[in-house]
Point group: C2
Chain length 304, copies 2
């Protein structure tokens, strides 16, 4: 067996193992379907358990481990990040926004539960996320300060100057020609900020020092760009069955994408360089940071 | 001048003074209208500055003062509570929910900014609220623990088992006959939980002990009931001009209310008793708790 194959196999194992533990924790942290009033809890669970790569929780856990922390320290915050990601998808899919019928090969929340319940399920997941973050209590005062810092950074990342800001500019840009600067704003805010907050959350809760935080932040910025470019490319040439979602949505909604701005080949090159640059940033963290490094190199080649 | 008149005059002064300081803090804590992207910040500010009694921030401040705390300790959390209240109104008014055209005598957010922006403005205010709470940093470790406790309690109060749960049951109950238990669930969750969290937030940040917290919690529960019953009565016999909103909405939407369940006279009596019981609960806190006491007695007589 070649060394390369072996490396890919290891990352897959790591991802599968972490994904399974995140799923179990999500199950534990979410109110049961029968919790009163059941309608809202059914809707929350439907979207959380509709699939997904659990990339944000895994990034948080891998970042914690990269600086010597443990999975269990960050699991509540990691699951909170998945709650927030899911809330943003439910609201993005609403008729007033992208008006999407399918998400992860399943009918979207508002088609199953109605529009009112979809709005409320998103609201509830966002709220529950902050409750979960605040519940990751530690006995040491230093850790409590880190939890507050994480809540602040995550809220900043997904607020009106973060993820929501990106969604606003994205909506305003539909059917318009946008320049590279605007496109970069949209993606770095809609997708990049939460990736960045995920990596930093894991690192902060594991007690990372300033130097470690700085290189992990650069990692996450490049990771976000690489991820988004690959996402755009897959929307053009991906296999909808393998991805569990329809392709060609960007063209249908006349969304700005990297391939349509840079051309497919150049977009591919920029994405590859961003992934490699991400991996490069955390070389100094040594062997503990290997999962993060390989994840960045995998993300530019993924086909789902 | 009679003592009674003098008492009412003092409460009015207190409320006006606190309201003014809350308005100034809201102005300070919200991103400016020109902050990029301006569309979302205009929408957030429109709803926050559309008026309102600022009752939740005032309750938080008054509760802090009732146990010897200072206004400035709780101002960020107090404003966060107003952000959350406003987010809940924006989403409640959406076409898929109550489909309201006016709120505080002004067109609702979705009529002015469109439905997508109204959903996002609500999302952003909720997110900003948690950022603001987490930003109320203190140097003492004990206070940081209190901030985390406040975030947890507020999120619990407005989550799927709190305010959102109340809204779900309210939506499910439209055009249906509901019993007293369901009606109490709706109101204690839609309105009561956030009042309770406001009072407790102020007290927790001011370092209240268990005994003080317990009587303030009972105060807030009774305050919430008194407030809601008066709200229901005003929707029947209130002056829409004075209240800054249309009356008769509950009847139009066939909403369950206390007067329709208990009859107007009995509802009035139950509301009055709840307000008096609220005031009674905090007698032992002495002179510092006088604003809270008078507020509970005022709330059952208010005509706006």
């Amino acid at each position: 067996m070649k060394k390369g194959d072996n490396t890919i196999f290891c990352l897959k194992d790591y991802m599968l193992c972490k994904k399974e533990r995140v799923e179990k924790a999500l199950e534990r942290f979410l109110p049961g379907e029968d919790t009163y009033p059941p309608a809202i809890h059914k809707a929350m669970r439907y979207s959380i358990f509709a699939g997904g790569k659990r990339l944000r929780p895994i990034l948080a856990i891998a970042a914690a481990e990269a600086v010597g922390g443990h999975e269990e320290w960050v699991m509540p915050a990691a699951c909170a990040l998945e709650f927030i990601h899911t809330y943003s998808l439910i609201h993005d899919d609403l008729p007033a926004m992208d008006n999407a019928d399918y998400r992860r090969a399943k009918p979207t929340s508002h088609l199953v539960f109605g529009e009112a319940m979809a709005v409320l399920a998103g609201d509830a997941l966002l709220t529950e996320a902050f409750k979960l973050m605040a519940s990751s209590l530690f006995t040491e005062a230093a850790k409590e300060r880190a939890v507050l810092q994480v809540i602040k950074e995550v809220a900043e990342a997904v607020g009106s100057r973060g993820l929501i800001g990106g969604q606003v500019v994205d909506l305003e840009s539909e059917s318009k020609l946008v320049d590279e600067e605007t496109l970069f704003y949209i993606h770095s805010h809609k997708t990049g900020k939460l990736f960045c907050a995920s990596v930093r959350a894991g690192a902060l809760l594991a007690g990372a020092d300033e130097r470690q935080l700085a290189c992990l932040t650069r990692y996450a910025e490049n990771f976000g760009l690489a991820f988004q470019i690959r996402d755009d490319i897959l929307d053009i040439e991906g296999n909808s069955k393998k991805m569990g979602k329809s392709v060609g949505n960007d063209a249908r909604l006349k969304k700005a994408t990297y391939p349509c701005l840079l051309g497919l080949e150049r977009a591919r090159k920029v994405g590859k360089e961003a992934g490699e640059r991400a991996a490069e940033q955390i070389r100094e963290l040594g062997e503990n940071a290997r999962p993060l490094q390989e994840l960045a190199l995998f993300i530019i080649k993924r086909d789902f």
